[in-house]
Amino acid sequence: MVTDTLGLVMKAFIVIGAVMTMAGYAVLLERKVAARVQGRPGPNRTQIPILGSIPVIGTFLTRLGVFQPAADGLKFLFKEDPLPGHVNKFYYVLAPMVAFIPAMLTMTVLPFGAVTDPVTGATSPIVLADLDIGILFILAVSSLGVYGIILGGWSSNSKYPFLGGVRASAQMISYEIALGLSILPVFLWFGGTLNLFNVVEGQSQVWTALVQPVSALIFLIALFAETNRLPFDMPESETDLVAGYNTEYGAFKFGLFFVGEYTHIIIGSGVFVVLFLGGWTLPFITLPAGMVGAVLSVLIFLAKVFCIVFFFMWVRWTLPRFRYDQVMNLGWNKLLPLAIGNLVFYAIVIAVIEQLN
């Protein structure tokens, strides 16, 4: 019992460490993609004393900006942590944690690989907690993240964060509905299961994105809105709201918001990969049983997540921000009816298929 718990804690630490590292490097990827799109080289100066001075590799890694996330993280840690006089101190300090914790929590139920027992041939997911209602947990917890933004906006007691917080809450609520409705057909398709592992196993031949492209599209758009990414970064919109909800934040508190945002993107990409892109499976390829297969499955999953995260960055540096009323219009007048129509259509299709069988 004790060793079980210890093992779980170890696993949790490994996963948290991995996701935090990925969040750090997602920032680097963002900066690199931004730079490349704009014809710049991007971060290429940061060096670590010994590692950076290895003749060829050190220079290459420095040019790649590999040491940049460490510098950024340390900067957040060592900066003075100001507490403005005009804020509500309790909520002001609470907000970054509320934004950060749900982002980290959602990954507990996200399966990121599968291990096949070489003896029995039974497949089990690599996941921290294999919940039968995994997707409900993810939806419920990730929508808590908006509280951090709203709290940050309100407690800052200043115009721009307040506007950012208000926008965030309205946007999150609008797109959550489309998000939830868009994934219902997926679970109908896989026989009503809400377990993410079963969804992925059901996609071993054909990805859901090919069967239900509209669902995938709506989910992707709603995901952009939920993670506050451009073109939906209303809460932050630095051109009209300075920095939105985190205008009054600095140092480590801002860092928490920042990392939470990128963790959200990574987890969101993970959910998209699990639901629509076949998770850790590849069509027509059966992974070997045992440890090798397990490692391969995790790598496949990470590669797919990387592609989606890259897509997030790519879109950000391509599209301009929507106007606020356009965001609301798109959410309520376009995506919501489309999601409902999509759900009804697939419900009928699935019912017909079941009748025929």
């Binding site: 490349r36 704009q38 790519w314």
Partner: protein, 180 residues
């Protein structure tokens, strides 16, 4: 004023969904990602200075290493912000080039006053002062930014020169020359 109402065609369904436009935008940015960066990483890479660039004024020497300036003080007189100070002097008796021309005993250009107009270069009859390609001047004190003779020669170096004035003068002195 007569106004003309431009007829706007209603958008097609594809246009209203934005998606084809987004895809074409994504294609543009993806193409950009594979282009080489246009950034000049300044302190490591220097920009190409075009010919005729007016950088820091410098004093140059002729190919034989003699100073070309004869301290005629034309540049001092023409300098609009009065940045140049010259104290004329003789070339020492024991020098190889003695008795031929004068040379500046002290030559100062106050870089805090210089406006890089290039009039000194234009007016110089000896082609001794040139505005070359140095474009960043820094210093930690005012005194440091008053460039002295040795600094000006160090910055200027030697420029190719086909006049060989000194040789002509020397030979004229030895053998006689109708013009002198």
């Amino acid at each position: 004023m007569a106004t003309k109402v431009v007829e706007r065609k209603p958008l097609s369904l594809a246009e209203r969904s934005y998606l084809p436009q987004i895809v074409s935008g994504l294609r543009v940015t993806m193409k950009n990602m594979f282009k080489p960066p246009v950034t000049l990483e300044y302190p490591d890479e220097r920009p190409d200075i075009p010919p005729g660039y007016r950088g820091v004024p410098t004093l140059v020497k002729d190919p034989d290493g003699r100073e070309k300036c004869v301290s005629c003080q034309l540049c001092e007189f023409v300098c609009p912000p009065k940045a140049i100070r010259i104290i004329p002097g003789e070339i020492p008796e024991d020098a190889e080039t003695a008795h031929v021309e004068k040379a500046p005993e002290e030559f100062e250009i106050n870089m805090l006053r210089c406006i890089y107009c290039g009039l000194c270069q234009e007016v110089c009859p000896e082609e001794a002062i040139f505005l070359q390609d140095i474009f960043s001047v820094t210093g930690t004190s005012r005194e440091e930014l008053v460039f002295k003779k040795d600094k000006l020669y160090a910055l200027g170096g030697t420029l190719p020169d086909s006049h060989f004035k000194w040789e002509k003068k020397k030979s004229a002195e030895l053998t006689g020359n109708p013009h002198h």
